[in-house]
Point group: C2
């Protein structure tokens, strides 16, 4: 079990083949903004430029922080643009973390 | 809530800058093998060839399936090779899925 409750939000997306610059600016802005969200814990994001598929995993302290981030006005506008211009498809999975481990073990 | 219990396993890794061919073969084999694991539900994987950072998310029906996959002898050998040859670092997060949604909504 983690020391404290932890909620993971996994965002899997496939980008359309246009709007590269606008998308890059938006994504960069969102990565900055989410870190300002109270309850934010961590973020990791990978995109394959060839397949245009990306996975972002964000961790929050609780569901209230997840809800507040989803409702953040600037993020809401980014979500609207995502559907309108950027994404062919995406999936969001919200889960409660049970355990974490890694290598090297003591970083 | 999902229709049935669902466990997500998020594997975040950074590859070393060598052993590309062996890694590719191993990763391909693991993606085939995990789909044969009873209780396996779904898999999505993305790697950025420039940063060598990857995220794989696998879904299983229950913890018993996750444990069986972790203990699979061929997978155990891949884990050993991962530490010995392939990865600079990795993190595993096991979580219980609370909800999923996406766009387009009805795929």
């Amino acid at each position: 079990m983690p020391d404290r409750p932890l909620i993971s939000v996994v965002f899997v997306s496939r980008r359309r083949a246009d709007h590269d610059d606008e998308y890059g600016e938006m994504a960069e802005r969102m990565e900055i903004l989410v870190r300002e969200q109270p309850g934010f814990v961590d973020l990791v994001s990978v995109r394959d430029p060839v397949t245009r598929r990306g996975i972002t995993v964000a961790y929050f302290e609780d569901e209230a922080s997840v809800a507040a981030w989803k409702a953040n006005p600037e993020h809401a506008e980014a979500q609207r643009l995502g559907v309108a211009d950027f994404y062919e498809s995406y999936d969001v999975t919200v889960a409660e973390v049970r355990r974490q481990y890694g290598f090297p073990a003591n970083r």
